[in-house]
């Protein structure tokens, strides 16, 4: 009898616990798309019938489309900015040894563990004290602070194994510094960079607290959704919008993870022998 089946006999409720846990975690999220196709303004069972009218209404909602556009602008800017900063940080962490390296890495990662609302309030205070007008730019800056740690952890796992001798081998074979960057460095770490862009874009897309505090009169999608929740009649539209965002996020994160693993395999392979 394997250790696992032994344990299962001793703790027969474990599988039930796991099932319950996943139910609690994912059932509410699964209800979102279900009700978004329901032909009723209320989210109650039994379901009234199938419709796609809530999705159709999204397409004609110019305020929502403006918010989606804002989110896109913010997301692209944040993902580019935090990935560039993340590349610098990840390169420093993986390639060099310097005093205070661990402390620096820790401080970069810290925003992940700070209460977001506290960070949001303090950022708001500083922005106002400096007399800067709230806009998408302030949202971009605030979210970048939060996304750099994610970018860095994705990039570090891609860079970690990047073997300096790959670049040396390229010089040795006659290639120039620029040629080496183009033909070796970039292709080898590219999957990690794309993965970082996707992860940070997804986080920015879903981020609410900073966007709510720092966005002024230009709402991003989550801020727009929050505003809509005050009107019961708007709820099905919000559910439809939420379902779209959910699918988009899952797709992007899946792609990001596939790329991250590929990057890890590539760089580590240069090191380890079978």
């Amino acid at each position: 009898m394997s250790l696992l089946t032994q344990r299962l006999r001793v703790l027969p409720f474990l599988p039930a616990y796991v099932a319950l846990y996943f139910l609690f975690l994912y059932l509410p999220i699964l209800l979102l798309p279900v009700f978004s196709f329901n032909d009723a303004a209320t989210t109650t069972f039994p379901l009234a019938g199938f419709t796609t009218k809530w999705y159709a209404s999204l397409a004609g909602n110019s305020v929502m489309l403006q918010a989606a556009w804002n989110s896109l602008v913010v997301g692209v800017a944040v993902s580019l900015l935090s990935t560039v900063l993340g590349i610098c940080a990840a390169r420093a962490i993986t390639r060099y040894r310097f005093r205070g390296q661990r402390a620096a890495a820790g401080l970069i990662m810290a925003p992940l563990f700070l209460p977001e609302i506290i960070v949001a309030v303090s950022l708001l205070m500083i922005v106002l004290a400096m007399g800067v007008e709230l806009s998408l730019i302030t949202v971009i800056l605030g979210q970048t602070v939060f996304c750099v740690p994610y970018a860095m952890s994705v990039l570090v796992s891609g860079f970690e194994g990047f073997d300096r001798s790959l670049e040396e081998a390229s010089y040795d074979l006659g290639e120039t510094a620029i040629g080496t960057f183009r033909r070796v460095t970039l292709p080898v770490v590219a999957p990690a960079i794309v993965s970082s862009l996707l992860v940070t874009f997804t986080i920015s897309l879903d981020e609410f607290i900073l966007a709510f505090f720092l966005s002024g009169t230009e709402p991003t999608l989550p801020v727009y959704i929050w505003g809509q929740l005050r009107f019961a009649a708007k709820l099905p539209g919000v559910l439809a919008l939420g379902s779209v965002m959910l699918v988009a996020s899952i797709l992007m994160l899946t792609l990001a993870e596939i790329l991250r693993r590929r990057a890890e395999r590539r760089t580590q392979m240069a090191f380890t022998l079978p």
Partner: protein, 369 residues
């Protein structure tokens, strides 16, 4: 050594701050020679190899490659190519693309390029594996790709940085034979960095043994093993019985010493030889001592008793105590005659050849700062 010099290293030093990685190293390597830099880790052998490749810039001195002073040239403008310790196979390219990497800059016709890649792959016996990705290769195959990728550039000198250290023992021995065959076939200068004395002995035309950023001795494998100049060189290349001997007299290049129970022995003076208080260190390799069985007789014999025995399959290492010697002797016996069955404590006789003794000079003190 071949007649024409290919690499001349002239008074090269490399300092990291005040640490001397290389301390006034000079040596000449001939065209078509298989030359090894042998030493323990940190002895400067890799720094010297990387200086030839152009990845390190010596603090002082000059390196001539085929007569051209090369320190000012970056790695991509030197006629040298390197096989890296971890092979550094480009992970995003397949085998053929790896091998063709350096050729791309030569702008050959597609046909010429394919031919050169194909020839290089044939040379390292990887024909037909051109489309494999790097992660689909075994350790030995990666090694071959690294070799092909360097050789396809037709370098004047191939630099090998511990190329076999990542392989398991059996594969390593196979690759040693192949490396030697390959070097003979292409006929260019190979410079191998290794810490494995057997590898250096088996492959090289000449070996430079390095300690503490300096060269201790340069010689052919046979000479360096049989006639090590100093105690450290002798020790690094294999087992050695060291004895303190008293100088009896000197005549020209020869010294006569009293090697305790071994009696009077005549020896060649090594370079830099000096006796301290009339005493010197002499050495004899364990395999130059031989067990005498039953009625065997030898011109030079010594009686002793077995203190320890270690079984190594084909050979047995014996430690033999001899009255009047400070240290017990170690000797290596093949197991053909039953050396592995001798009990500890057994009284034995051993034979030696006085010609097999070497006189060892003192090692210079290691000063790296």
């Amino acid at each position: 050594m071949a007649d024409r010099p290919m690499i001349e290293i002239a008074n090269v030093s490399k300092f990291y701050g005040i640490y001397k990685a290389l301390d006034d190293v000079s040596l000449t390597i001939g065209e078509g020679e298989f030359f090894s830099l042998l030493g323990p880790s940190g002895c400067g052998k890799t720094t010297l190899l990387r200086s030839i490749a152009g990845f390190e810039t010596p603090t002082a001195g000059e390196i001539f490659i085929d007569g051209v002073p090369s320190l000012a040239l970056p790695p991509n403008r030197r006629p040298t190519n390197m096989v890296f310790q971890n092979y550094a196979i480009f992970p995003h390219l397949d085998v053929a693309e790896n091998v063709a990497y350096g050729l791309k800059r030569l702008r050959l016709s597609a046909q010429d390029e394919r031919k050169r890649v194909g020839d290089a792959l044939d040379q390292v016996r990887l024909s037909g594996l051109g489309q494999r990705k790097a992660h689909e290769l075994s350790g030995g195959q990666r090694q071959r790709v690294a070799l092909a990728r360097a050789l396809v550039m037709r370098p004047k000198v191939l630099l090998l940085d511990e190329p076999l250290s990542a392989l398991d023992k059996k594969l390593r021995e196979e690759m040693q034979v192949e490396l030697r065959t390959l070097q003979k076939a292409v006929g260019i200068t190979f410079i191998l960095v290794t810490h494995d004395q057997y590898e250096a002995l088996a492959l090289s035309d000449r070996i430079a043994v390095m300690f503490g950023g300096r060269i201790a001795q340069i010689a052919s494998p046979k000479e360096i093993y049989q006639r090590p100049r100093t105690r450290k060189v002798a020790d690094f290349l294999g087992g050695m019985n060291f004895l303190k001997a008293k100088v009896l007299g000197e005549q020209g290049n020869a010294v006569s010493v009293d090697a305790a129970r071994f009696g009077a022995v005549n020896l060649d003076k090594p370079q830099g030889f000096a006796a301290t208080n009339g005493h010197v260190t002499v050495g004899i390799r364990p395999e130059r001592l031989r067990l005498l069985w039953d009625d065997d007789r030898a011109p030079h014999e010594l009686a002793g008793r077995i203190e320890n025995r270690a079984y190594f399959g084909e050979v047995t290492h014996l430690t033999v105590g001899v009255d009047g010697l400070e240290q017990p002797l170690s000797l290596v016996e093949t197991n053909s005659f039953g050396a592995d069955d001798l009990p500890v404590g057994a009284e034995i006789r051993l034979a030696y050849d006085p010609e097999a003794f070497v006189l060892l000079a003192e090692d210079p003190p290691v000063t790296r700062v």
